[in-house]
């Protein structure tokens, strides 16, 4: 994997007329991982969207080197299509994929329409899309929501493997996440 880097410089985020956080800075380089922690509504998801470049920051800048992969609460898979076809759309956009379906335990679900999948299965499907994208920087917004214990272990293993290969993980989660060398950033320290 090519060298990647993501850095936030004195970021601030405003929602409506409320300042969620300010003066938030960090820098991650190849192989590093960061967990964003904090109570509900403190701005973890907003920060993830700012880092992805999908939402503007109220102040501060984000520097990125490398492609961004995002998993949030929406799987971005056509709900009425069978899982295989819905993932196939992204495979045609991202290029051929390896064995991520078997890896995520989705092989048996390929004929099932996405809207019939459980929350955890949808999360696994979104992770399959992420793996197929082969992005350098992973932004995971509550990746453990709805997953069973085996699913949690799987996500942790995938993140560890991604970092080992030189990728970056930014994980927004209020749940504990087991990853060697995982840094923590508590948004409570940056509340405005």
């Amino acid at each position: 994997m090519q060298d990647c880097r993501i850095a936030a410089n004195t970021l601030a985020c405003r929602r409506g007329d409320r300042l969620l956080f300010r003066a938030l800075s960090f820098a991650l380089s190849s192989g590093q991982a960061l967990q964003l922690v904090g109570a509900n509504g403190i701005g973890k998801s907003s920060l993830i969207r700012i880092l992805a470049g999908l939402a503007p920051a109220y102040a501060g800048t984000v520097e990125r080197t490398g492609t961004i992969g995002l998993v949030d609460e929406r799987p971005a898979l056509d709900p009425h299509k069978p899982l295989g076809e819905a993932l196939g759309f992204w495979q045609r956009i991202d290029g051929p994929a390896d064995n991520e379906l078997a890896q995520l335990g989705l092989s048996a679900l390929l004929d099932v329409p996405v809207r019939y999948l459980s929350t955890g299965q949808k999360k696994r499907a979104a992770l399959a899309r992420l793996l197929g994208q082969k992005a350098a920087i992973w932004l995971l917004d509550e990746p453990l929501n709805g997953l069973d214990t085996r699913g949690v272990a799987l996500v942790e293993a995938l993140a560890a493997e991604h970092c080992r290969q030189g990728g970056i993980c930014v994980i927004a989660s209020h749940q504990p996440f087991n990853l060697p060398g995982l840094q923590r950033l508590d948004l409570l320290e940056h509340v405005a």
């Binding site: 999908l54 995002l70 949030d72 799987p75 971005a76 898979l77 045609r92």
Partner: protein, 219 residues
């Protein structure tokens, strides 16, 4: 890049033309034919009156049929986070919108032009007038498609966006209707040329207007 374009177009056509569970192109066509069928019942069996006004009715029916798929043009993809994923892959909203206008047009323009043949028989207009109606629809429906996608993007994410979208399209489509249906009254090609011109303006504006609307809705 062209492989990506083809992939996007194929998905859009699958959703809009074939439609799966949501009806695709069938619903607008049936609606269009239903209006053409109702009209003679409503005004009575006065053949000269029907022939004189039938072309205009076909135009109004086409406009209303084009409004039907409005709520599934942009909103579902915005809700499911598709636009976020495209943005992360460097696929611009403008490109997505341009592809979607093409898919939207393919899924109602040609089907309506085909359905205009039986509709013209129902309202009793002759072959010569049918030719002008068909040419007018060919010139006007791309503009209607662009207008539909632009309004769908502007109202995506709003509460009651679908109903509002229909209301917004109608006044904006008046120039298309005036020139398109007007070409029947004067019986010339100049009205069709003006319809085509207005269509081209809409086609040129839509990717940028809709792209900006989608980016701001994503915020």
């Amino acid at each position: 890049m062209s492989a990506r374009l083809f992939t996007l177009l194929r998905r859009d056509l699958g959703l809009l033309l074939l439609g799966g569970r949501r009806g695709g192109a069938t619903l607008p066509v049936l609606f269009f034919l239903a209006v053409a069928m109702l009209y003679p019942f409503a005004v009575g069996p006065d053949a000269p009156l029907l022939a004189r006004t039938g072309g205009g009715v076909i135009w109004v029916a086409a406009l209303l049929a084009a409004i039907l798929p409005l709520d599934r043009l942009i909103e579902p993809d915005l809700e499911q986070g598709m636009f976020d994923q495209w943005a992360l892959r460097g696929i611009s909203e403008e490109l997505i919108v341009a592809v979607r206008v093409l898919a939207h047009w393919l899924s109602f323009g040609p089907p309506l032009m085909l359905a205009a043949v039986p509709a013209s028989a129902l309202v009793g207009i002759d072959a010569d007038k049918l030719r002008i109606v068909e040419l007018g629809l060919l010139a006007g429906t791309p503009g209607l498609a662009a207008l539909g996608v632009m309004v769908a993007a502007l109202t995506a994410g709003l509460r009651g966006g679908a109903a509002l979208g229909g209301l917004l399209v109608i006044p904006l489509a008046i120039p298309l209707l005036v020139f398109g249906a007007g070409s029947l009254a004067i019986g010339g090609e100049s009205g069709i040329a003006l319809t085509a011109a207005f269509s081209l303006v809409l086609l040129a504006i839509t990717p940028f207007a809709a792209g900006a609307a989608i980016r701001s809705a994503r915020g």
